[in-house]
């Protein structure tokens, strides 16, 4: 067993874990954060995407023991009492069908837009190219990311007006 301290969605967790435990299982089984999904277990489908220190990773490929001191954001850490603009945008354009890929899609989108709110369509596509979806043909997901850009720009504008940056 090894001891790790991982910050997940702003809360620090210290746990003694099996050295072979994947980050995916740490999130789902240790912390009971079941929003992160497993679709292949080998980094091909992107359903288990989470954000680690600002970058997306496949949590099925990362050992939790290697995440000591890292900051992770999962779907449970996106939005709060109100939906995040990305979530609202996905909902409004109808980007959701079975919903299994959606947590990963939302996090890939967030990682992109947090860095580059003006991402072009090509950049959007590249950012979600590691997230497979069998339901939507991706059309409304791309539409959703674009609407999220607009929404996030609007809310950034509002934030600036009231002097918060």
């Amino acid at each position: 067993m090894v001891e790790v301290t991982i910050t997940v969605n702003g809360t620090s967790y210290t746990r003694k874990i099996h050295p072979l435990m994947r980050l995916l299982d740490f999130l789902r089984d240790e912390l009971k954060l079941k929003g992160t999904k497993e679709g292949c277990g080998e980094g091909e489908c992107g359903a288990c995407t989470v954000i680690m220190d600002g970058r997306t990773i496949n949590s099925c490929l990362v050992l939790a023991a290697s995440c000591d001191g890292k900051e992770i954001i999962t779907i449970e850490g996106v939005g709060g009492a109100e939906l995040h603009p990305i979530q609202r945008a996905f909902l409004e354009v109808g980007a959701v069908q079975c919903g299994y890929c959606i947590p990963g899609m939302v996090l890939s989108t967030k990682a992109l837009l947090d860095k580059n709110l003006d991402a072009t369509e090509e950049e959007i596509k590249e950012a979600i190219s590691g997230n497979l979806c069998r339901c939507t043909g991706y059309q409304k997901i791309v539409e959703g990311v674009k609407l999220a850009q607009t929404k996030m720009k609007e809310s950034r504008g509002e934030a600036c007006e009231c002097g918060r940056s």
Binding site: L33, E76, L91, G94, Q97, C98, Y100, K125
Partner: protein, 762 residues
């Protein structure tokens, strides 16, 4: 007909739950004391188990139980999620046991380990000693039918599951008198559903009953099949279906449920979960049948189709699953589209040593339309006529009655679909532009039509149940046995109930989970049946609720029921349009009236004895790289006649996803097997070329809305339909661009390159 809620862009009722990660799928529940099950799978395509020793596996610390075929009841059952047939002759082929003593494909189920955790279970699998007698195997269905081929199931010595066909008119005579006769061979490959959530289920016992929580499209059918597989009374099994991460037909099969039931029985009712890996899912669930068609068609001088003779071979793999019903669906559903004087289909569904093929979105129909629509373009090219005019010259009309099924076509939107698609893709303009190309990159246009059914009638009598219970505030619970599998069923049912009762959608609380102990009976999500069939039940139950509300309002006001209505949750007097009261007042009275208290509920079940034929067209524009064989789809337009569209956003979503699946089959997807061993070569999401966002073109979805008089709200099917025509449209566009007729899909760069070489283009 004007509607308040039907046809509106109502947001998905489950969207908030899903975008926040709160929606609970099968693996998101946890039971105390849960064990993990794993399955040992055959490394051989065909092998008898001479001996199997599990002692070492059992001795491993943390292993609770190990099971082989010897430990389970020797009962053969069928996994197809079909309604039960009272007639034993019409039941699915019962050809498998939960664990086998003879492997019939690489990946067949040999043994089960139940352990404390996954790592121990994995380790234990490696400790099971199996002594196999390796047998000759066969992967090609035509070879499987040859004398002397390996016999896969003893009761089918020629490996043919069935060769029942259909015909009408006199094909022989029409070919004899034909002006032209055309022939062609067309072939599709093994592809897979690739729902993002693998098959998964867990089971435990409650008193003497087995409770199974499963990612299934068909909870009521799953319950029956689990009971059959274990020889239990059907009522001893309870199936609960939470949200599911896609199915596309692969979860219309009862695959993991009998296994987890057997597991919990073996460990005294402790909860046991079995979740397949992606690799397992590719080879141990189901695939789409690879089919080969030999088409022969008679055409008159004035380009009228006369006779069609189809010989088809369907590669079913190791177990029958849905078996022959898939090719029967193909040869039935393609018929109400073109006028043929005579028709004969001779299909054969054949066992081979591949993983079993089963239901997949479109149920045989994408395969036959790839053949037919490719064939029609080949004929048009030979006759030097416009492929669209050729089709329009031969389509049926509304009022057409199929000579065999006797189904009547009541609305026929193909002419409108073609007109719209042709305009949108600028067919005439671009046809002119793309003439006589010689460059390295050549563009072309293609199109293809399709027909599809709404449900299974007349093969099955359709039945659907619905229960609605009104709350004290006038809102209602909507309970169904029909399942939400991502397609948006819960949302359209919510809209239907809101529309028919006269309340806003947010006053309808749909119960998304089906629990066979409480959900009304409905056979589930398949055959694009739910909007059409279950929709009829929802409407009937809602009308009954409305009647009860208005009867109380009538009692209260002295007005006749027919002078009252419910609009947006308010009781009004019709004509004057005068507000009487809020629906909550009536609901409260229903619950608590001191003389007549009787909560408002309806519990209904309907039979549907009609089938609304849905139609559609795909238009494709492609660019072919003549040097590399890369085909790029520049534009793909689908125009559908699905009757009234209940929810345009959801309908577009269905089209986008279906088209994407068809483009994958056309261009990149193929599950491959080593011809020397029968082992899969690409059973993972890296090597199996599923479409990513980078591969997906701009897909446009359009609808021509001709309300069908048999649909409760004018609706026809849509779910599977978009998966049918894009592949042949792309194939025909490649023919237009290059002059090369590809008669086998996928047209991946390698196969295109090889074909160009064969044709002397390279």
């Amino acid at each position: 007909m004007s509607y308040r809620v039907i046809g509106k862009e109502v947001k998905r009722v489950d969207a908030v739950n899903k975008v926040t990660g709160k929606a609970k799928f099968t693996d998101d529940f946890f039971e105390r004391d849960m064990l993990i099950g794993k399955v040992l799978r055959s490394p051989y395509a065909h092998a008898k188990i001479k001996n199997i020793n599990v002692d070492k596996a059992k001795a491993l610390e943390g292993v609770v139980e190990v099971l082989t075929y010897k430990d389970l009841p020797n009962i053969k059952y069928a996994t197809a999620g079909h309604p039960y047939s009272l007639d034993p002759k019409h039941r699915d082929v019962a050809d498998r046991t939960i664990l086998t003593d003879k492997a019939r494909h690489v990946g067949d189920s040999i043994a089960i380990v139940i352990a404390k955790d996954e790592l121990i279970a994995e380790k234990a699998l490696k400790l099971i000693e199996v002594d196999y007698e390796v047998l000759p195997f066969v992967l090609d269905p035509e070879k499987a039918m040859e004398p002397g081929a390996p016999i896969i199931h003893d009761d089918r010595p020629n490996n043919v599951i069935s060769s029942v066909g259909q015909e009408f008119g006199n094909v022989d005579e029409d070919f004899k008198n034909a002006d032209y006769v055309f022939t062609g061979e067309y072939e599709t490959s093994v592809v897979q559903h690739c729902h993002l959530e693998n098959h998964t289920a867990y089971a435990y016992m409650e008193n003497d009953r087995i409770v199974i929580v499963s990612s299934t499209q068909i909870p009521h059918i799953a319950r029956r099949i689990v009971a059959e597989a274990l020889g239990l009374p059907w009522g001893k099994v309870r199936v609960i279906k939470p949200y599911i991460g896609g199915g596309f037909g692969n979860k219309q099969e009862v695959i993991v449920e009998p296994m987890v039931a057997a597991m919990t029985l073996a460990v005294n009712g402790r909860p046991v979960r079995y979740t397949m890996t992606r690799e397992e899912s590719f080879i141990a669930t189901r695939t789409r049948h690879a089919m080969k068609f030999y088409m022969k068609t008679a055409v008159t001088k004035d380009h009228k189709l006369q006779a069609i003779h189809i010989k088809a071979i369907s590669n079913n793999g190791a177990y029958a699953s849905h078996g022959h019903s898939i090719i029967m669906s193909a040869i039935s559903k393609f018929r109400p589209l073109y006028n043929f004087k005579s028709f004969k289909a001779e299909p054969k569904t054949v066992y081979t040593n591949l993983p079993s093929a089963g239901a997949m979105r479109g149920y045989g129909v994408p395969q036959i339309f790839f053949a037919l629509e490719s064939h029609l373009d080949d004929i048009a090219k030979k006759l030097n006529i416009d492929p669209i005019e050729f089709r329009m010259n031969n389509v049926i009309q509304a009022g057409h009655v199929d000579p065999i099924s006797k189904l009547t076509v009541r609305t026929f939107g193909i002419p409108e679909c073609i007109k719209k698609g042709k305009e949108l893709i600028k067919w005439d303009e671009k046809q002119e532009l793309y003439k006589n190309q010689t460059g390295e990159k050549r563009r072309g246009l293609g199109m293809a039509c399709f027909s599809y059914f709404s449900g299974t009638y007349p093969v099955c009598l359709e039945v659907a149940g619905c229960r609605i219970a009104m709350n004290q505030d006038g809102s209602v619970q909507l309970m169904l046995g029909a399942t939400e599998i991502g397609q948006g069923a819960d949302t359209v049912f919510t809209q239907m109930a809101a529309e028919a009762i006269g309340i806003p959608v947010d006053m309808v609380h749909i119960i998304s989970t089906q629990d066979t102990d409480v959900a009304p009976f409905d056979t589930g999500a398949y055959a694009s049946r739910q909007t059409y069939i279950t929709g009829a039940a929802v409407k009937q139950a809602a009308i009954e609720v409305k009647k009860q509300v208005l009867e109380i309002a009538s009692r209260k006001t002295g007005l006749k029921v027919e002078n009252l209505d419910i609009v947006d949750g308010k009781i009004i007097e019709v004509g004057l349009n005068r507000l009487i009261c809020d629906i909550s007042e009536i609901a409260l009275e229903a619950f608590y009236d001191r003389i007549d208290s009787k909560p408002i509920t309806s519990d209904t079940s309907v039979n549907v004895r009609t089938n609304a034929i849905a139609y559609g067209v795909s238009f494709a524009e492609v660019e072919v790289d003549m040097l590399t064989g890369q085909i790029e789809v520049l534009h793909l337009i689908n125009v559908h006649d699905s009757g009234t569209i209940i929810n345009p956003i959801l309908a577009e979503g269905q089209v986008h996803g279906g088209v994407s699946m068809s483009l994958g089959a056309a261009l990149s997807e193929r599950l491959m097997f080593d011809e020397r061993t029968g082992a899969p070569l690409n059973n993972n999401l890296l090597d199996y070329k599923l479409q990513t966002i980078m591969d997906t073109p701009n897909i446009e979805a359009h609808f021509v809305e001709l309300p069908d008089p048999t649909g409760a709200f004018g609706q026809k099917s849509l779910g599977e339909n978009p998966t049918i025509s894009p592949a042949p449209a792309v194939r025909n566009a490649v023919l237009d661009a290059t002059g090369v007729a590809f008669n086998k899909i996928p047209m991946n760069p390698q196969s295109v390159f090889e074909k160009f070489k064969e044709e002397g283009l390279l």
